[in-house]
């Protein structure tokens, strides 16, 4: 067969595979939105949840989800960044580093309930941190680190070598080069990692049941003191996230409108993730433009 027709056939195959994926995506997301959007109202977003009466909202859960994502990223991103830089630039090429890499990858296959129980026994009980957002953030950090580290390492490695050589030739130290030149050029790739891991945080339930808990105390949104127990900013309070709420409502919820709450909350979750991803891409682009001269490819 001549290469041109092979090329045509291959393109058709690829396009049809992509077509299947697109169809799946459209089906899934419209299913969630169509079943959920009718239940979404301002009242649903702004009222607290109910445990047995109809008409409960998701105000606290929505806020907790976003807060947890931010806290987790604050903890896990610097660690992943440092580790990613180490693996990409400083790590010697020997078997020890290979073993470390493999162990990190294996870690990500642990079921979330195992990670949740580990964080529960160590942080919640042993260190007496208690059921709290911060314990939840630590648990989520544990299984976000592998993917995030790997992603940062790859993004840094994919920055062309001449950038590093040029900077070194100008007398910059390697570390300064990494922070000031390599890291900014790697931002678009790193954003992917952040989006994937924050998506996982938004959607995670099993690990959080044992760490940040599955009940939400009443929050006071006027109290900005993070050390006061009813303040919405207090990281030491237990918090139920949207995904946990969806799980709870579906598995043991006895409110008469459990189905409506579950589908409404799922639709809200999807919208929040869309907004978050949009925002992350936007920030990534801004930073990239600020630190480098190029446009995002």
């Amino acid at each position: 067969m001549n290469p041109k027709s092979v090329n045509r056939i291959a393109t058709t195959v690829i396009n049809s595979l992509v077509g299947v994926v697109v169809a799946l995506l459209v089906l899934l997301i419209s299913y969630i939105l169509v079943t959920g959007l009718p239940h979404m109202s301002l009242d649903f977003l702004l009222s607290p949840s109910q445990s047995y009466q109809a008409g409960g909202g998701i105000r606290d859960q929505l806020f907790n989800s976003i807060y947890l994502v931010i806290l987790t990223l604050i903890i896990s991103f610097p660690i992943a960044l440092g580790a990613g830089i180490y693996l990409a630039e400083y790590a010697p090429k020997n078997w020890i580093v290979d073993v470390i890499r493999t162990l990190i990858e294996v870690l990500s296959s642990l079921p979330s309930v195992v990670v949740g129980l580990f964080a529960y026994l160590v942080f919640v009980i042993k260190f007496q941190v208690g059921f709290s957002i911060i314990s939840g953030a630590v648990a989520l950090t544990i299984f976000n680190l592998p993917l995030l580290t790997r992603n940062i390492e790859d993004s840094i490695k994919s920055v062309p070598d001449f950038q590093m050589q040029g900077a070194l030739a100008l007398g910059l130290s390697k570390w300064t080069t990494i922070i000031k030149i390599i890291f900014p050029s790697a931002i678009p790739g790193i954003i992917t990692g952040i989006i994937l891991s924050s998506g996982r945080i938004f959607g995670e339930a099993a690990a959080l049941i044992y760490t940040s808990g599955q009940s939400a105390p009443v929050l006071n949104y006027a109290n900005w003191n993070p050390f006061s127990p009813d303040s919405f900013l207090n990281p030491m309070r237990p918090a139920e996230t949207l995904a946990v709420h969806i799980w709870k409502v579906n598995s043991e919820g006895i409110t008469p409108d459990a189905n409506a709450i579950s589908s409404g909350a799922s639709a809200v979750l999807i919208l929040v993730i869309i907004l978050f991803n949009f925002f992350a891409h936007w920030i990534g682009k801004k930073l990239y433009k600020k630190f480098t001269v190029g446009e995002v490819k």
Binding site: F127, G213, Q214, P217, N250, S251
Partner: protein, 287 residues
Amino acid sequence: MNNRLIHFISALGILILFLTGCSSNNGSKSKEITSVGSTALQPLVEQAAHQYSTEKGLTINVQGGGSGTGLSQVSQGAVNIGNSDVFADKQTGIDAKKLTDYKVAVVGITPVVNKGVGVKNISFKQLRDIFTGKFTNWKQLGGKNQEIIVINRVKGSGTRNTFESSVLNGEKALNAQEQDSNGTVKRIVSSTPGAISYLSFSFLDNTLQPLSIDGVKPEDKNVEDNSWKIWSYEHMYTAKDAKKNVKDFIQYLQSKPTQDGLVKKLGYISIHDMKVVKSSDNVVTKK
């Protein structure tokens, strides 16, 4: 190489400092009650805690995690209250003598089937034979010609223990699908033709067909005089030397107003309405 070693050692030093810094962070928790365990009981405790804590200025932290977790944690002293669907002395590995049992509600459990099977009433023996695998088609029970699909509950869960001790009479259940929550079971039974499982009363609605057993309907009043035999207690366990505010909170849950109000609203049966008492060995006596 030497240089690298120095870098590693200093990094290790920071790490150790960091970890010891974490572990020395202990707060005072005297005004806090933590309760962990059964997800089935959680809505009740959570709602009661909500009302009680605003009255008393306490922080009551109610979490799930399952009956096993509740019992392990309370006997290790990690939490104040362990919520459980099962008697502590029926769980291997728990020293029940170290714990105090408070029964806070009664829950009735009923077999449910998919609406299409055409059976509404069966006998105890038939029910047992379905769950031990002797009947395989609804035709054998006077229903449609449809395969019986048994959805069991997870081994060790409170609902399954109750069901097996009241229905199976010591026989071994067949190896079947297992699901762990009322909500999931409800969805599967209502969407799978020929399915049978069992649920707490509070999860019944018009998507399912509850079964009467020997003509007795699954209703609260039948549980109260034990004419409906599949029911169990919801327990709250504390250590023997529990703090006063923990005991007060449980007493609040057991009080007549809470039992007649909240407990009934959440679909449980009040402990004050029960005319009989069940022991952990499933022996029922008149109150």
